[in-house]
Structure formats: C-alpha cells, structure tokens
Amino acid sequence: MAGSQLKRLKASLKDQGIIGPQKSKKQKRQNAQDAKASNEKRIQRHEALASIREQFNPFQFKTNARGPKFEVTTNKPVSSREAMGISGRPGLTKAKGEERRRETLLVEMQRRNKVGGLIDRRFGEDDPNMSLEDKMIERYTREQQRSHKKHSAFDLEDDEEMGGLTHMGKPLFDDDDAPKYLKDDFEEDVGSGDESDGSQTDRRALKRQRLEEALEAMGEQGEGQPERKKTKKEVYDEIIAKSKLHKELRQEAKEEDNELRAEIDEAMRDLRPLLFDRIKPPTKDDKPSLVIAGKDQATLDREYDIQVKRMASDKRAAPTEKTKTEEEQAAEGANRLKKLEEDRLKRMRGEKVSDDEQESEDEKKQGGDDDFDAMDVEEEDEFGLGQGIAGKAKKYRPTATELGFDDEDDFLIDDDLVASGSELEFDSDDEGEESDEDDESGSGSGSGSEEEDSDDDEFTKGLLTESEAKQGIFRLPTNNTKGSDENGVPYTFPCPQSHDELLEVFKGIDVKQLPVATQRIRALYHPKLASDNKERLGNFAQALVRHVNYLGNQYQPTWAAALEGLTRHIHSLAKSFPIEVAKGYRAIIQEMEQSRPLALTVGDLITLTGVGTTFPTSDHFHQVVTPAMIVIARYLGQKIPQSLSDYATGTFLSILALQYQTFSKRYVPEVMNFTLNTLCALSPSPKAFTPKNTTGFFPLHDPPVGTRLPKTLPPDAPPARKLTFSDCLPSSQPPTLQAKLSLLTTTTALLTSASTLWSQTPAFTETFSPALQILSSSYPAPLGKFTSPLQQHLTRLLQISRLSRRPLELHHHRPLAIRTYIPKFEDSFDPNKHYDPDRERAELAKLKAEHKRERKGALRELRKDNAFMARENLRVKKEKDAAYEKKYKRLVAEIQGTEGQAANAYEREKAARRKKR
C-alpha cells in the first residue's frame, strides 16, 4: 500500500464513502427528505472520520515496536488493540490529563493566596451539561423533596400551605381542574383508569412544568420587581384563607365519609349473615345471645389457650410400668451388668466410655434420687434390682450365664448387700431386740419379703440400699432419739466432718462396733433428710477413709471384720460421693509417697487394699488406682529389704499388685524383681547369686543377715503358716524359722498365681525361667515340699509358652500410600500472572508491585503538575507582558500622537504667524 500520506488519505476517505462522485440534485433532495436516514448517516460519517483521523495520526497510539512480548495462545478473545500491540494512547491521555488539571490544579492555582469568595451552590448552576429545563426540573424536585421531608403532605393540622408563598400570591394550580389536582394521586389512579384521563394527567404534568419554569424564571429575575399589584401580606392572607377553605372542605368530606362508614358498620350486622352464614337459617341468630357469645368468645378463647398450654406442659400420660416377671427382671439385671462389664473392658483398653451415655445415666439416677414420689423409679435402681433377685438368686443364676455373663459374683453380691447387712447387724440385732421393743419387735428376719413390714428392720439392718434408707428415714426421729444399745453404741451421733472429729465421736466405741456406728451415722445424715447432709456425708466419707488408715496402723487381728465393714461402707459411700472418697484416698496416697515411700505402714497396706476393692483396678487409667499402683511399684522396685518384715510387707504388696491386675492381666516387673529377690534371699545355698546363675536380669540385692533357710529342716520344724500383719512390723528378734518358711510358701504361692496370671504373655519364658532356675539350683531337697509344686507348675507353663510362642508380626499394617503431588493445572493460565504457591509471598510481591506502580504514577503526576504549573505561569506572565506591552505602546503612541499634534499645531502656528507676518 505504497503512496504518499495524502494519497492514502484520499483513498480511505473514498473507501468510507465520505467523498465520492458528485451526487445529482435529485439524489440530494432525496437524502434531505428522509431526515432520519440523514441523521444516521451523519453519525456514521462522524465515526468514520474519527477512525480515519486515528489511523493517520502516528502519535495517537503507543505501540510496542517489536510487537507483543510473547506469542500467546489463549482462548480469550483477542481484542484488536492487543493484536496490534497497542499499549496506550498518549495523545488522549495527555489531553485528558491536561483537562483534568485545568479543572483542578488551575482553579487551585488561581485561588491561591485568595481569601473568601462566594461558592455558588445553586443546583446545576455551573453544570454545562444541564439545559435550562433540566436545571429547573432539578430545582423543583429538590425543593419538593425538602418540603416533603419536613411535613406530611396530608397533615391537616398544619396551617401552612406548602409552596404557597410564591408566584405572586396566586395559587399554583388555581385553574379549572384545581380541586381535582389537589386530590391525591392515589385517588386519581383508583378513580379513573381510561386513556383520556391518562392523557389528562400528562397534560397536567406538562402544565405544572411550565408553571414551574415560569416561576423559576421569575425567581431568577429577582423578587424586588415593583410591578406587583398586591403586597406580600395580601398575597399571603389570600393564600391562607384559600387553603383553609380547602381544608375545611376536605374535612367536611371526610366527616361525611366517616358517617357513611359508621352507617354501613351498623348495617354490617345485618349484612353479615347474608355474606357469610348463608347455610345457617337466619332464625338462629338471636342478637343478645350473640353478644353474650361474643363476649364469651374472648374469655373462652383465653381459657382454651390456658388449657392447651397447661396440657402441653403437663407430663405426658405415660403408661404405667408393667410389673415385670422375674425372668424379665433377671434379664434386665443381666443386661445392665453386661453393660457395666463392657464399660469396664472399654476402660481397661483405655478407650473412652461414651460420656453422654454415662451422664444420662447419672442424670437418671440423680433424677431418681431427687424424686420423692417416684417410688417405682426408685425400685429400678441398682439396689432395688438386687433385692428383687435376692431370694431367687440361685434360680436365676443359670439365665445370667446363658446370657454370656459368667461373673456369678455379681448376683451374689447383690444378694450380699442385703444379706451381709443383716449379718453384720446380727448380734446387735439380737441384743437390740431385747432392749428396744417398738423398734425391733416386728422386725424378725423373715418378713423381709414384704416391703411395708421390712421398713423398720431394714433401717436397722442394712441401709445399704437407697430405697430402704429412704423408707427408714422418716421413722428415725421418733424411733431412736437417745440412748445406746447393748454394745454401748449410741443411736445418735454428730456427723464428724474431719478425722479429729471422727476420733472424738468414736471414742469409747469398740472398733468392732464401728460399722454399726457408721451405719447409724449414714442413716441419721442421709442426704434426703437435709440439704446439707450431702456435704456432711462427703466429709464423713473422707474422714472414714483416714480412720481406716489410722486403725490399720494399730491393727489387731480381731479387727478384720470391722475393717472390712468399714471398707465396704466406704465403698458404698463412694457410690454417692465418688469425688470425696477419691480425694480421701489420694490424700493418703500422697502422704505415703511423700513421707514414707519405702516404709509403708500396715495402715497403708490396708488403705491400698481398700483402693483395690473400691475402684476398678482394671482401668487403663484411674485417678486413684494409678497413683496407688505407683506407690506399690515404687516400694517393690526401690526397697532394699533390710529385715524379714520388709520382705513380708513387700510380699503383701506383691499380692496386692497381682490382685489389682487379676482382671486386666497387666505385667508388673517390680513384683517379679521382688519375689525373685525374696527367693534368693531365702535360699539356703550360701553362694552369691549372679545374673548368670539366675539367668535373669533383675537387680540382685544382698540379703540381710539371717534370712537364709537352713539346708535341712529340723524334724520339729513348725509348719508353715500364712503371713500376718504382725510379720510386717519390724522386730528386734531374729526371724523365726516358721516366719521364713511362711514367707517361702507365700512367695511360691504368689509366683504360682503370677505365672498363671501372666501365662499368656509373650515373654513368659524370659520372665519366669529365672524363678525356676533359682528354685532348682539353690533349694536343696529337704525344702522340696515347699518348692516342688511351683517348680512343676512353672516347668509345665514354660513348656506351653515355648510351644505357643510365635515370631512377632506386628506390622501387618495397610501400607501407607506414598505421598503424591498432582501437578496443578491452571485452567486459565496467563503468563503475565504470577502463580506463586506461597500465598504470603505472592501477596507481598503484589503489594510491592502495586507500590512501585503507584509511586511511579505519583511521580509522573507530580512532574506533569509541575510542568503544567510552569506552563500556566508562563502563560499568565506572557499575557501580563503582552498587556503591558500593549499599554506601553498605546501610551507611547498616545504621547507621540499628542506630540505630533502639538508639533503640528506648532508648525501650524508657526506657519500662521509667518503668514501673519
């Protein structure tokens, strides 16, 4: 497309059809005729010209000289601009910037160093885009809005008529259809729907507009024009009067309407049946009754509502519990126990027993406790169940086993709860019968089956069951107010809150009678009797725990039953006060650990035994059992026995540790260490033990002097007995042969049960072969009668364990999937964008870029501003200079003119004079 610029321009103009061959006159005329087409054509022409102009101005676009940076294939539509690689329109932007500066910066410049001035706030005054018409409309609407905001248009009380003060005192719409106009638009619209009316409204709007325009024009002309016929006041008065008249008229009309409405309302009663009750015969409606009914209706409704609400809040009528057959009760009990057992297993495995379940159960229990009326609920309680089965335990035991629940103990224990209570009380009962007539008379032992009858005797008996307690309680004050029974156990006690108080209260009571006393206290301060009894009994339970420890420290062999009773009481209390009892036990355990970890007393041993029975020792973790176990293990692991008593204590703790683990079969290394050491210490062979000849890796302690058994037993050797707590007390006497033999038998028995307990453990061989080794190598034949059963037992178990041992296959896990990273594809990838996976970094980069851009932009703007200002200043200066120059020239010219004139005049004068002369 070679050719000069001019040629190309011509060509493109021709292309666009802007220039072309000359048209004939006819064509011209035709064109002129259809104005519409011509208009379109004109626009078209304009556009074409603009594009040509753009095309031929090489400075119009800023293009990248080398074309676009990347060849990009995208699925986005390519705009022509991008295709050309145009990156800006410098001319346009420059012009725009210049314009903007002129608007802002220039104004500012001009206003600089100037104070005050007027700001024209008239709407659209400076807006060149608005035509005069637009301005007027705008002003009118603004004004309307303003007045509208202040008052409601329909406020009748408002005396001031809006917009009434203008227009030379004439009402704006005081023409033929004024009243109509004054009516609401609403009414109008409702009233008429035909077209003519629509046109009318249009016309009216136009008229209004025109009026407005006139008004505005007038306003702009100024108010102070003197050609008015009326004064302002007159105008106002007139307007006010008129508007008041209108208002009155409107009010009247309204009142009329109201009256009419009232009339219709009156008639409504007659109309109603016609409208709604068409089916009912009109004869039925007698007015007075209707009125009454209407009044009744309200109250009735309210009553009805109340009733409904009451019913909703009422307890649902529940079907009464079916009296269960014995089978059902047994099954239910078995199920409950099964569930408890499952929970226990769960806890043993360290799983969480679902809390909500337990909580709901607790709640249920709690609710049952609080509910005094719900006797039947009470009977479903733990103990009530036991009572039901009690008599028939034997009969139902098989059913329980059938259910796969073979821990027969449970039933016996429930049975026991009642039975043991009676047993415990038996002596006192018998004796009490003689002394205390009205209380014990009817009790007997046989009437236990009948609940009503059993009230009294159960109170005195057990109180181990809650229902019993509750029933018995109410008689308490009348029954046993004072005095004491045969054994010197008073009937009433203060409730001891601490151990000191407890010691005070129990002073003078034989230890053996303590369970009775405890029982009485529990009855006296049963939580249902007074609100603070709960707290009291909790403290009492804590004190009792301590008291058992205290009594244990002065242990007498005859106290076994009493301590057992107390322990069981604590257990029973623990059911209602678990936290308190746990705290009591934990406090004692803490003391043991802190003050005497390696010198436990008999009381401690008894306390630890109590812990073992009260709390489930099979749990994976237990707040009381775990610390207790740590104390036991610490003693067994760290105590280096110095005397036989230490061995006895350790042996007791070993037994206890085994008992703790009976159910869960957990391994206790410390027990093994201790028992093996005991065996070594007792063995008659004088040679020193080494790990090699015991084949075990337990730490050997040098035994104290005098613990070894003789190699041969004397013929008059006393028989071995069981160890007692008296063996645990340190004594100065050298240990007797009997004590040693007893220790040996106990240890062997202990090892027997330990080996049975842990027979399934995978390292059984390594654990127990040292024991066998010690027994076989260092116990001579005369002692064989003590050791051989264990030896045989161990040999057998070791054989079994060897046969049943398998290589470990611990890692049959599902193989872990190798971590894969799927490459991430962008659907709309744009090479200009950054895809930084690090979000923060990306954001930072973005911010940085933005900052840079902004900074550059701001700098550029500032530079341009400066340039603009310099330019403007220069322009102003030039103007000024030019003006000055002009003035100067003018003055010079003027002077020269005058001079010239003067010279001329002079010349003339001279000539004239010369002439004269």
């Binding site: 257990h571 678990p578 746990a582 009260t614 611990l810």
Partner: protein, 551 residues
C-alpha cells in the same frame, strides 16, 4: 652522731612505750568495762605514733603481741592485725621496707628489722587461719597485704607476685580446719582472678609434691574439693584479663597471660593429686565432672587415658561414669579404644536400668549408636539386650528406651525384622506351628556381633505393652504401630522416676467423679465361709494368701 642519738631515742621511746603499754594493759586488766574503747584508742595511738616517726617503730612489736592473743579475745586480735596491716601498708607504700644499696647501715638495720616484723606478722596471720572466727578476716588481710607486697616490697617498677608468701597462704588454707575459709577463698579469689588461680594450682602441686608422704585422707579430700571448685576453664588467652596483681606489662609472654601455662599448672595439680591414689567416692566424683571440668584443663588429656581406661574396666557404676570421660577423649583426642562397642555392650547389665546414672548413660549410648554406619547385627544386640533388661526395669527406664528403639529401627531398617518376621516357607510355618519358637538370642554372649539378636524377636516389648502403668503401656505400643514419625526426641523421655510419674498423676485435681467398682465385694479381708463357698464365692487373692486374723 645523729644516728646514735636516734637509736638511743628509739630505745628510750621503746622503753617508754613499753612502760606505757604496761600501764595500759594493767589498766585494761583493771577495768573490763571500757575495754573496747580503750583498745581502740590505744591501737589508734600506737598506729599514729608509728606513722609519726621511726622512733615509735617498736610499737609494731607491741601490736604483734596483741595480735597474737587470739585465744582469749578475738576482737583484740582482729583489731590489732587490722592496725598492723594498715601500718605495714603505709610503710610499704612509703618504701621503708625496701632495701636500698645506698642506705646507711642503720637504715639497713631498721629495714631489716621491719622486714622481720613483717614476716612475723605474716606468720601471725597464717596462724589465724586455723581459728574459725579469725580465719576470714585474716584471709582478707593476708590478701591485701599480698597485693601491697607485690607492689612495694622490691624497688622495682613492676609488681612482682610474692610467690613465697602466697604459697604459704595456700598451705595454710589447705591445712586449716575451717571449711568456710576455703569456700571464701575459692569464691572471692580463685573464681575472680586468673592469676590467683594460676598460682593456686602451682602452690597445690607443690604442696602435694612436698607432702606426698604424709598426706592423710582428709587433706586429700580438701584438696580434691578445692580443685573441683575450679571449674570454669577459660577458652582463650584473651579471656585471661582479670588479675589480682597486674603482671608486668613489659613481658608479653608472662606465664600468667598464657592459657596453655594455666592449663599446665592445673594439669600438674590434678596429676599430682591423682597420683596419690583416690578413694572410690573420689573417683566417682572425678569421673562425674571429668568431661566438663577436669579434662578441659589438661593440655595433654592423653595423660588421663590410663586412669579412664582403668576406671572403665572396673565395672559397675564407675564404668558408666568413666564412659563420658572416654568419650571425651575419643571425641577430642581421637583416642582409639579397642573393642569399644564390646565393652559398651558389657555395660548393659542387670543393674544398668536401675542405676542413678541411667539417663547419663543412655544419653551417651544414644550418641554412640547414633551412626547409621554401624552394623545392624550389633545394633540389634543392643536393642534386644535392653529389651531383656526392660522386663525387670522400672517404668521410667522403659519409658526412656522404647522411643530410642524406635529411632534405632528407623535408622537401621534391617533390625525391624525383630518386630516383624513372617515365616517364608510353608515348612517353616508348619514347624513353628508344631514346635513353637525358641528365642535364639544369646543373652550371655559378650560380643555384640555374635548374639544372634537380629534373628530374634522383641517379645519383651510386646509384653510391656501390657505394663501396669498406663503411659508406659502406651509408649510401648509405638513399636507395633505404623512408623510414621521421623524420630522421637529421646531427651523428652530420659529424666523420669517413680516420684515424677507420681507427681504427674497427683498434679491433676479430681474433677470428674472417678469410676467406682459397681459391686461391693462381700469379702475384703475375711475368708469366705463354707456356705458362701457353695454359692461359688471365692477368696480374693489377698485374703487367700494373707492372714488378716479373725474376729
């Protein structure tokens, strides 16, 4: 002539003084009430007189006498020696004790006399070290005297450390029965000043050499403790910058400024002590701090090699302790210990996991077995042996070693066969079904390469998964779970004990009601009656094996 008059004046002054003195002392004896005030004024007078003129120099002798009266009245002695100290400091500062060549004969006599008195005063001070109440002030006085002597006893410009006096001070300190004195000395002087430390080492070494024949056990312990207290080894020459007596700056190479000289002195002192033979306890103590505060003092730690090897071979806890010293030598001096791992393996005995030094040993063991280039057979031996030991170990030890096993398994994947061994052939399987498996591990084999542990399995750890302590059981279970963790930080598990485990349990307050056994057992202590036995009730284990007595 003037000299003669002076002398006579001096003598007469001395007489008068003595007279006065006698009066004063008589007076003092008479009135005990204003004794303190008297004493003070008297001392002040004596002091001022001495400083006034040389005539009164004999007052020094009086003061010395007063200062020696330790036994009756401590305050007198202290006040007198303080005064004396002040006097001598002044005299020294004035240069009165410096022998000058050009001085007249009489002056020389006076100087000589004064020097003798100074020596007397030193002896008095040193003797005070034996007195419990006087020792501490005497020490301070002696040290300040030392400082002044260093500066002014010679007419040299540079101070010279008075070694002779200092050696005597150290001898007295060491031999003093006052324990507090040594503590004070160590705290205020040895720890503070580098030169004091330097000369102390020197003096102790000398002392030990002098007295090697008749050194009794108590003295040895004292020296041992004193040396043990000196533990912060400076790291470079630049650290040696605090001096009690500034060494001559002219000599850049003064031994006090050189770290290696310091070390040599320390090394000499320690060697001198060790050569005397040590008790078992001392040995343990030495070994305990060997790698932190003794070996760093040695310029030639190789000298410790024999000692350490002997200890390492001794067995028991001494071996455990010596290990860190041996390791120090291996690390720092590239010591090549023959059959190191065999020896290390032999340390794994029955008492190891019960030992006090367990965590220390396990830390080192972790370092020694940290290399991934060790033969898996050997690592397996260590694992298996420790697992065996864990069967009889306290929970705190189990807790420490199981995560360590885990790390080893991760590092030596070959050893994981100990946890997971699937029989490969049908015959093998059948054989196992029929005969079970014997543990092929040779527990008594000394060489960790020959134990066949890698062919065995870790049944022990599986048994410990049923340990009574919940946390131990949980930790033991990591062996049978998937090995997803990179490694455990063994340090987290090392320092536990029964006590700390117990504290951890008791630290939690009981908030949730604990679970209570749902059955109340019929029998706790008493035996089951026959009737109940018929019902299937059995004695609990405790009741069965223990006689609680009967009602």
């Amino acid at each position: 002539m003037p000299a003669a008059t002076k002398e006579s004046a001096l003598a007469s002054a001395g007489k008068r003084k003595r007279q006065e003195n006698g009066d004063k002392s008589k007076k003092r004896r008479k009135s005990g009430g204003d004794e303190g005030v008297d004493l003070k004024t008297q001392l002040k007078q004596l002091e001022s007189e001495i400083l006034e003129s040389r005539k009164h120099y004999n007052n020094i002798a009086t003061l010395l006498e007063l200062a020696q009266k330790n036994n009756e009245d401590n305050s007198t002695a202290i006040a007198a020696s303080e005064t004396l100290c002040r006097v001598f400091v002044r005299l020294l500062a004035m240069g009165n004790l410096v022998k000058k060549r050009e001085a007249s004969e009489k002056d020389a006599t006076v100087t000589e006399w004064l020097r003798e008195r100074l020596a007397d005063f030193r002896d008095v001070l040193l003797r005070m070290f034996d007195n419990e109440k006087l020792a501490l002030p005497a020490l301070l006085l002696a040290m300040s005297l030392l400082k002044v002597e260093a500066q002014h006893l010679d007419d040299r410009d540079e101070p010279v450390f008075p070694r002779y006096f200092f050696t005597k001070v150290i001898y007295s300190i060491v031999q003093s029965p006052v324990e507090q004195l040594r503590e004070e000395f160590a705290e205020k002087f040895i720890d503070e000043y580098d030169d004091i430390r330097f000369y102390t080492f020197e003096a102790i070494a000398d002392f030990l050499k002098d007295r090697s024949e008749d050194l009794d056990e108590a003295l040895r312990t004292i020296i041992f403790n004193l040396l043990l207290n000196i533990d912060d080894v400076p790291s470079s020459n630049d650290d040696l910058d605090t001096f009690y007596i500034e060494p001559p700056s002219s000599k850049k190479k003064h031994p006090v400024r050189s770290l290696s000289q310091h070390k040599r002195q320390a090394q000499d002192a320690w060697l001198a002590l060790m050569q005397l033979g040590l008790s078992k306890d001392q040995r343990k103590k030495i070994l305990g701090v060997m790698s932190t505060s003794i070996a760093p003092w040695f310029t030639k730690p190789e000298l410790l090699m024999d000692f350490l090897t002997d200890c390492y071979n001794a067995g028991g806890s001494i071996s455990l302790l010596a290990l860190s010293g041996v390791f120090y030598l291996i690390q720092e001096r590239n010591l090549d210990y023959p059959e190191f791992y065999t020896k290390l393996y032999s340390l794994l005995d029955a008492d190891m996991l019960h030992s006090k030094h367990r965590s220390r040993f396990l830390r080192l063991l972790d370092t020694f077995l940290g290399s991934s280039h060790l033969p898996a057979v050997m690592v397996a031996s260590f694992i298996k042996k420790l697992a065996r030991l864990a069967l009889n170990a306290p929970p705190s030890a189990i807790v420490a070693i199981v995560p360590w096993f885990y790390n080893l398994f991760k590092k030596h994947p070959l050893t994981t066969f100990m946890m997971h061994r699937v029989p490969r052939t049908e015959e093998e399987k059948a054989k196992i079904e029929e005969e079970g498996v014997e543990d092929v591990f040779l527990a008594w084999e000394r060489d960790p390469m020959e134990t066949r542990a890698i062919e065995s399995c870790l049944w022990e750890v599986v048994q410990l998964q049923g340990h009574w302590h919940p946390n131990v059981a949980t930790i033991a279970k990591i062996i049978s779970e998937q090995f997803t963790k990179q490694a455990y930080n063994v340090e987290d598990f090392l320092d536990h004990s029964y006590g700390s485990l117990f504290e951890a349990e008791m630290g939690k307050e009981v908030k949730k009601p604990p679970v209570v056994e749902f059955m109340i057992p019929k029998r706790v202590f008493t035996k089951v009656t026959e009737e109940e036995e018929k019902q299937g009730l059995k004695d609990s284990l405790v009741a069965g094996l223990w006689d609680f007595g009967t009602a």
